[in-house]
Symmetry: C2
Subunit: 443 residues, 2 copies
Amino acid sequence: MSLRTAALRAARSTSSSRSKISLSQLSKRGYSTPSSRPTSSSWRQQIATSFAVGLVGTVAYRYLSDNKSQVQCDGAPLVEAIETHGYPWVPVDALEKDDPQNPMRIRMATWVKSLQDHIVKTMEEIESSVEPNSFSPFKENPKFLKDTWIRKEGGEGSSCVLSNGRVFEKAGINVSIVHGLLPPKAQKAMLPDHPSLPEPKETKPFFATGLSIVIHPRNPHIPTVHLNYRYFEIENKNDENQQPITWWFGGGSDLTPSYLDEKDCIHFHNELKKSCDKNDLNYYKEFKKQCDKYFFINHRNESRGIGGIFFDDLTISSPINQINQNENGKPKTQEDLFNFIKDASSSFLPAYIPIVYKHLNRTWTEEEKRWQQLRRGRYVEFNLVYDRGTKFGLHTPGARIESILMSLPETARWEYMTPVGAEGSNSPEEELQKVLKNPREWV
Amino acid sequence: MSLRTAALRAARSTSSSRSKISLSQLSKRGYSTPSSRPTSSSWRQQIATSFAVGLVGTVAYRYLSDNKSQVQCDGAPLVEAIETHGYPWVPVDALEKDDPQNPMRIRMATWVKSLQDHIVKTMEEIESSVEPNSFSPFKENPKFLKDTWIRKEGGEGSSCVLSNGRVFEKAGINVSIVHGLLPPKAQKAMLPDHPSLPEPKETKPFFATGLSIVIHPRNPHIPTVHLNYRYFEIENKNDENQQPITWWFGGGSDLTPSYLDEKDCIHFHNELKKSCDKNDLNYYKEFKKQCDKYFFINHRNESRGIGGIFFDDLTISSPINQINQNENGKPKTQEDLFNFIKDASSSFLPAYIPIVYKHLNRTWTEEEKRWQQLRRGRYVEFNLVYDRGTKFGLHTPGARIESILMSLPETARWEYMTPVGAEGSNSPEEELQKVLKNPREWV
């Protein structure tokens, strides 16, 4: 059974109570450009001042507005369909099969929801495989807390968070599906990272969806892992076929161990590489380089972890997609890139889970826990100081802070001039530091 | 014995082995404008690419340079005098008495060094007053780790940090004395916060000195406290009398409790107010307001703590100094403002220490510790996301990161949708939250 099929089956088994509205209805009702919607001055005002997000890093729904009451997050339970300020939105149902007839926004939203369900289920299976322990002494197997909501102005979100796990200290698996209007100023702010964006002149409708995962295990020998895949498009208000003006994919996945296990690094990178190679032999090398560049804690002059892959603004006209054609010898299509996204995000579990199981029963010392906590401190530094998605979210009034900061570890530590891992200590901690200072090629 | 005298006595008793060079020598040799110094192309290059700092928040020496080898921090031990790349620097000696004949840069540097010695001594006395405990089981009384260094390009620094205390989880008391050249771009970056700065046209020599304190106690019933006082001037290269083109004072002090004790808040604010009122009856009200505004965690829509005082760019021409004259009925002088800085910074110990002793023997529950750790998480969020000094330092290549991040607590915690302190829980934790959401007037 392929991962994709597994994801869909997992989704089916858990979401049968959800919407029965078909995808064709959804694509007509659930997402349409504002010009086709009922208007009222209050609605216009709301939309005009709202703005949503790069979806870089943590994916949550956020907007920009001076009036906080307009951007209230309500955490309302997911319902079958909701009339939201004259803006009808039907939750995307992971139960639906991918249908190439649907617009990409629907296909990607369906994909990330399916994958979210599947990964949540897998993580819960790992929790169940371990006996209750001092961290989680309860008989019941630890479960994710699931928050779903409809965004008043259009869209939906779903945060799945595990705290108090037997294996995982904190695991967050978030999906968000957002649409709204993007003022020229907001478009300009995106330009540096997204050169494919046309010259921003007027407010344009946009759509964004993504899956974001951060998993912090308790055991210092099991690495922290991060994943984020996202799709963004800017709409053409006047196009009846709803073809976007521009669109791109972004994302990646990277590993942050406290202790270096070279075999783990090789395995993790190898799985990512396989998913890249299947689609383009240039992808892995380039996206690995971009990952090392992005996940870098500048003020420490060290990487956050041992890398993975990372890319942004990936479209058919991206330079890297000009080199190779697709497997049929034709220029790449959006379908080709979507296949890559599916392969790359599907490689998450085979890349990470074997590492979890490998170290699951290892014990650890107080010193090893201390080092893990110090590394968690660095993780907090990266996320709060550098991560574009987190920074953007924090500076966006009305953002759902709990979802944005879900990526932070449960606990972290800072010591002044810590002796742990010091240069010349020839310790396992120093061994990791060396790799963080000089990123390696793992495959 | 006044605090000032006490500070000087404490300084004398601990620094008799230091420099015997007189202040007059110091003011001639220790600080002179670059034009009077020996030049070499490498020195010129170093200075031209270097840039130092707002000294807002954490005070450490930092510069901006693409060549990291030029900005190496060496943590070299403080010596009597050092020839540093043709740039002579004699460490400022707290042993010296304040002499109104000296330029303000020397007087302020002498003051902050004296106060640092005094506060370090007081904190060590508190540690000694408590028996060894599980946090610090050793017989020897916990002591501050003292790092002093000479900055190659001119200036010095001294970090005093206590870890593993019986009472304090982490306490940092930093002094820095920095001079160098400030390019127009760097001056421009300072303009929004410092309207007294003249139109930046050419590179100008500057001098900055400050004292920065953050103290995180172990006991959740003892609040965290922060202090920072600083003096900054931009020199007139052509003035033989070394009169600066512009100068200002900045700083303040604020309290961050995990649990609200209204009497503590009143006491803390009252001591600060007394030190303000002694100098200007308008100061406290204005600086309290500025403090509430500055120490605000925007994305949480709450204050970091219960406030205190905060001001920046305080000069004789500041609007607030145009209202009242000094006690002799004359326009205020730099001397008047220096007296205020001395009074305000001297009020730190009487404002904080009684609160420490009051709660020193209180026990705490696991739940109270958990809440303190969650509050520490908010402290980390403020410092990494908003604090201007920290942000500036982190983005300045070659900055001494250990000094900048000394302000972070030893441990912190983040929980997704934490139930602790939740709205409607009518808990002591919610009581604090309410005050953080709606800052009060305490005196």
